[in-house]
C-alpha cells in the first residue's frame, strides 16, 4: 500500500519532449486510470513510475520518498504488460514464482503464495501449463497473478485488456475491479478506451500530447469537462460540437446565435461569460441530451435533416446534418419512426450545453450553477 506523487515530471527522448511536466497525486488504495489517444504519453508515464524509464526532470515520490534513482525492482511495484510478457519457456507456476525466487524467498513460502494467488484467479488447474497452451483471458490472469504474488505496493497495468475480444474484455474489467476491491492496493491503469476508464476508475487522468488535460472522478469529467478535448474524449458517442457566436451576456448566462438558420436560441446558456458580443465559441451538447421535440422554455431548438440512423432496439442513433453542414448525433431511448432524409426539429436543455473557447485549448466557460458531479478531483 502506498501513495504516489509526481511533481513536474518531464521525459525527453533526445530532442522530443514526451511528457511535459506532469503533477499528480495518487492516494493510497486509489484506482487511477490514465486515458488518452495513442501517443499521448500515458504508457511512458506509467513506465516512468515503474522505473523502467528514467525521469528526465521533476520528482517521483512513493510514500513521500524520492525514488527517481531507485531501480524498478526496488520500488516494490508490479506491472501487468499489454502483451502479458509471460516467460514462454516457463510454466504458469514458474512464471509466478520467478520474482519470488529472485528475492530468495524460501521454497515453501513461494509455494503458498503462488497457490493462494492461483486460487484467487482460478488458475489452480493450469499451474503446470505453458503460456502458449492458455487462452488470452487465462494469460491475462497469469500476468495479474505474477503481479499479485509479490504483494506490491502499487499495481501498474499497461493496456492489459487491449488484446482480448470484446466479451472477455468486459469480464476481465469486472474481475480487475473486484480484485481492487479485495486487495485495496493502489492501482494505476493505462488505457485508450474511455469506457474502461469510466467503468473502473476512482480517478481519471486525461492526457494529451504529454500534458494532463484534466484529473477527476469519472462523472466529474463527464459532467464538467475542463476543455473541448476532454469533452470530446469522454463519453460515447462523442459530444456534438457546433460553431456559435456570442449574441449577448447577461446575469443568467450567455446568449448564443448560430449560422444554422434554424437555431432557435431562446434560452441563455447558464455559463459565466466575460466575452464580447460577436465572439466565436463552440457549443457542446451530448447526443443523449438532445430530444426530438420542439424547444420549450429553457431549451435550445434546432432543425436538422436525418442523414442516417441506427436502431439498436433499446436505443437509436440519428445522424443528422444542419443547414451549415455541421453534423449532429442524437441518441434516443427506445425506437423511432423517423426516416432517412426527413427533416426533424430537435431541442436540448440549455443547462446541459457546454460552451468552449474557440482557441487551441478550447477551455470551457465557467458554469454558473455546477450540477452535482460525483466526486470532483
Amino acid at each position: 500500500m502506498a501513495s504516489l506523487e509526481l511533481v513536474g515530471v518531464v521525459k525527453r527522448f533526445d530532442a522530443t519532449t514526451v511528457i511535459q511536466g506532469v503533477d499528480l497525486r495518487v492516494e493510497d488504495g486509489e484506482f487511477v486510470v490514465f486515458v488518452g489517444p495513442s501517443g499521448c504519453g500515458k504508457s511512458t508515464l506509467l513506465r516512468m513510475i515503474s522505473g523502467l524509464e528514467a525521469v528526465t526532470e521533476g520528482e517521483l515520490r512513493i510514500d513521500g520518498r524520492r525514488v527517481n534513482d531507485v531501480s524498478a525492482a526496488e520500488r516494490g511495484l508490479a506491472m501487468v504488460f499489454q502483451s502479458y510478457a509471460l516467460y514462454p519457456h516457463m510454466t504458469v507456476y514458474q512464471n509466478m514464482a520467478f520474482g519470488l525466487e529472485n528475492i530468495r524467498t524460501p521454497r515453501s513460502k513461494i509455494e503458498t503464495k503462488v497457490r493462494a494467488a492461483a486460487a484467487l484467479l482460478h488458475l489452480d488447474a493450469l499451474l503446470h501449463r505453458r503460456p502458449t497452451q492458455l487462452s488470452g483471458g487465462q494469460r491475462q490472469r497469469v500476468a495479474i497473478g505474477r503481479a499479485i504474488v509479490r504483494e506490491p505496493t502499487v499495481f501498474l497495468f499497461d493496456e492489459p485488456l487491449s488484446n482480448l475480444d470484446a466479451e472477455l474484455r468486459v469480464q476481465m474489467r469486472t474481475e480487475i475491479t473486484a480484485l481492487h476491491q479485495r486487495l485495496k492496493t493502489t492501482m494505476i491503469y493505462v488505457t485508450h478506451d474511455q469506457v474502461e476508464a469510466m467503468t473502473m476508475a476512482d480517478k481519471i487522468v486525461v492526457l494529451r500530447g504529454g500534458r494532463v488535460e484534466q484529473i477527476g472522478a469519472p462523472l466529474a469529467l463527464y459532467n464538467l469537462p475542463r476543455n473541448r478535448f476532454v469533452a470530446g474524449f469522454i463519453g460515447s458517442p462523442r459530444m456534438n460540437f457546433l460553431s456559435v457566436q456570442v449574441a449577448g451576456v447577461g446575469p443568467d448566462g450567455v446568449r448564443i446565435a448560430s449560422d444554422a438558420s434554424a437555431m432557435n436560441a431562446a434560452a441563455p446558456l447558464p455559463v459565466r461569460g466575460d466575452a464580447a458580443v460577436g465572439r466565436r465559441a463552440t457549443l457542446g451538447i451530448r447526443p443523449e441530451h438532445i430530444h426530438l421535440r420542439r424547444a420549450s422554455t429553457g431549451e435550445v431548438g434546432l432543425t436538422a435533416r436525418i442523414e442516417s440512423l441506427e436502431q439498436l432496439g433499446a436505443t437509436s442513433f440519428l445522424y443528422c446534418v444542419l443547414s451549415t453542414g455541421e453534423k449532429l448525433t442524437v441518441q434516443m431511448a427506445g425506437q423511432v419512426e423517423s426516416r432517412r432524409g426527413e427533416a426533424v426539429v430537435v431541442s436540448f436543455p440549455a443547462d446541459r450545453a457546454h460552451l468552449f473557447d474557440e482557441t487551441d485549448d478550447g477551455l470551457a466557460f465557467e458554469r454558473l450553477h455546477p450540477r452535482a458531479t460525483g466526486r470532483a478531483g
Binding site: F81, Y87, F98
Partner: protein, 350 residues
C-alpha cells in the same frame, strides 16, 4: 512410410510422366550423384583391402581378388583361374611375374611351378569387406588420443562460442549505448577479412601467450565469430523487450535475465550456432596444423594428414579413418538439421 513413398513418387503429370517430371527427377539425380557419389565411393573404398585399392581399373564395390597364403610365404598371394596348355583350368596363385610370363603354382601342389602367359589367366574375384582396416587403426595408431583431442577441442570451443557470442549478441540487441551500431558494424566487417590474412598475427599472439602445442591455442582464437554474433543478435531482436522489462520488475539482475530468459528463448538460434561451431571446429585443419606440432596433440584431421607419407600412403587406413572422422559431423547434422532450417528462417525473418 506411405507418405514418404508418395512424396518420393510424386509426379506432375497424372498417370504418366510430364516433361517437368523428367527434368526435375533428372536434376535431382544429377545432384544426388554429384553430392553423394564421392562420399559413397569413399565409404565403399574404405572397406577394400590394400591390394583391391591398387587395382586398375578400379571397382566400385569392395570386390577384390582372392588371395591364398601359402606356408613359407609372408605375403598372401593373388589367386587366378588359369587355362593350362592341356585345355584344363585350375585355380593357381602367382609367385612372380616377369613381362607377360607369370610363374604360378597350384596351392594344393606347392612344389610344381608352371609358367603361364598372362593372357591365359583371369583373376578370381570375391566379395570381401576389409574390416581389418577399421580394427587395425585402433592398434596401429593412437587413434583414441586423436579422437579425444578432436572431441575436447570441438566441445569446449563450441561451449565457449555459444556463451561469448550470446553475451555479445545480448548486449547488441537489447541495450542502447553510444556507438552500438559501430560496434556491430565492426564485428560484422571482420567477416570480410580472410582467415589467411590474420594467420600470422594470430599465431604471434597465441605464441606469446604460450598456448602453442596446447588445445587452448586452437580453442581461444576460434571462440568469437562474427557469424555467431550476427545470427544470435538477429534472433534476439525478435524476443520482445517487454519480457526483459517484466523480468526487471521481477527483481532479476541483468545476468539472470541473460541466463534465465534470453538463453532459453534463443535455443533455436543457439542450436544452429552449435551445429555450425561443431562442424567448423571438427573440420578445422589449417589453424590446428599451425598451432599443434607434436603428434600427441594432433586432432583427427591432422592425424589424417600425417598418414600421407612422403613416399608411401597407406590408403586403406587413411580411408577408414576418414570415414570415422566424418561420422560425428554427419550424425550431428542428420539429427539437428531441422534446427538449422527453422533457426535460420526465424533468424532471418525479423
Amino acid at each position: 512410410m506411405v507418405n514418404l513413398a508418395r512424396m518420393l513418387s510424386a509426379t506432375r503429370g497424372r498417370g504418366r510422366l510430364d516433361w517437368t517430371d523428367w527434368a526435375s527427377y533428372g536434376y535431382l539425380l544429377v545432384g544426388l550423384v554429384l553430392m553423394f557419389g564421392p562420399v559413397l565411393w569413399l565409404v565403399l573404398s574404405s572397406f577394400k583391402s590394400a591390394a583391391a585399392l591398387n587395382e586398375f581399373p578400379p571397382q566400385l564395390l569392395p570386390y577384390g581378388q582372392a588371395t591364398v597364403t601359402l606356408p613359407g610365404k609372408s605375403e598372401p598371394l593373388p589367386l587366378y583361374r588359369v587355362k593350362l596348355p592341356d585345355g584344363s583350368t585350375r585355380a593357381m596363385v602367382e609367385l612372380r611375374r616377369i613381362g607377360i610370363e607369370a610363374t604360378m603354382i597350384d596351392p594344393s601342389q606347392p612344389t610344381e611351378e608352371v609358367k603361364v602367359n598372362i593372357r591365359d589367366r583371369e583373376k578370381v574375384r570375391e566379395f570381401h569387406l576389409a574390416l581389418e582396416n577399421y580394427t587395425e587403426i585402433f592398434g596401429k595408431f593412437d587413434f583414441m588420443r586423436f579422437l579425444w583431442n578432436s572431441v575436447f577441442i570441438t566441445i569446449v570451443a563450441t561451449l565457449f562460442t555459444l556463451i561469448f557470442n550470446a553475451m555479445a549478441a545480448f548486449a547488441l540487441s537489447k541495450y542502447r549505448f553510444g556507438g552500438e551500431k559501430w560496434v556491430f558494424l565492426i564485428i560484422i566487417s571482420t567477416l570480410m577479412i580472410p582467415p589467411t590474412i590474420i594467420l600470422v598475427p594470430n599465431f604471434l599472439v597465441v605464441s606469446e601467450l604460450g598456448m602453442l602445442n596446447s588445445p587452448w591455442g586452437v580453442i581461444w582464437p576460434a571462440v568469437a565469430t562474427p557469424t555467431g554474433v550476427f545470427l544470435l543478435r538477429q534472433y534476439m531482436l525478435t524476443i520482445p523487450d517487454e519480457l526483459l522489462d517484466a523480468a526487471r520488475m521481477d527483481h532479476a539482475s541483468e545476468w539472470k535475465i541473460f541466463w534465465r530468459i534470453i538463453l532459453p528463448l534463443s535455443a533455436p538460434a543457439l542450436a544452429v550456432l552449435a551445429i555450425f561451431s561443431v562442424m567448423w571446429r571438427w573440420n578445422d585443419f589449417l589453424w590446428p596444423l599451425i598451432v599443434l606440432s607434436r603428434t600427441e596433440n594432433f586432432t583427427l584431421q591432422l592425424a589424417l594428414n600425417a598418414f600421407q607419407g612422403e613416399l608411401t600412403t597407406q590408403w586403406h587406413y587413411l580411408l577408414a579413418m576418414t570415414v570415422l572422422t566424418l561420422l560425428p559431423v554427419t550424425l550431428v547434422f542428420a539429427f539437428l538439421q531441422r534446427y538449422i532450417t527453422t533457426g535460420i528462417a526465424s533468424a532471418g525473418i525479423k
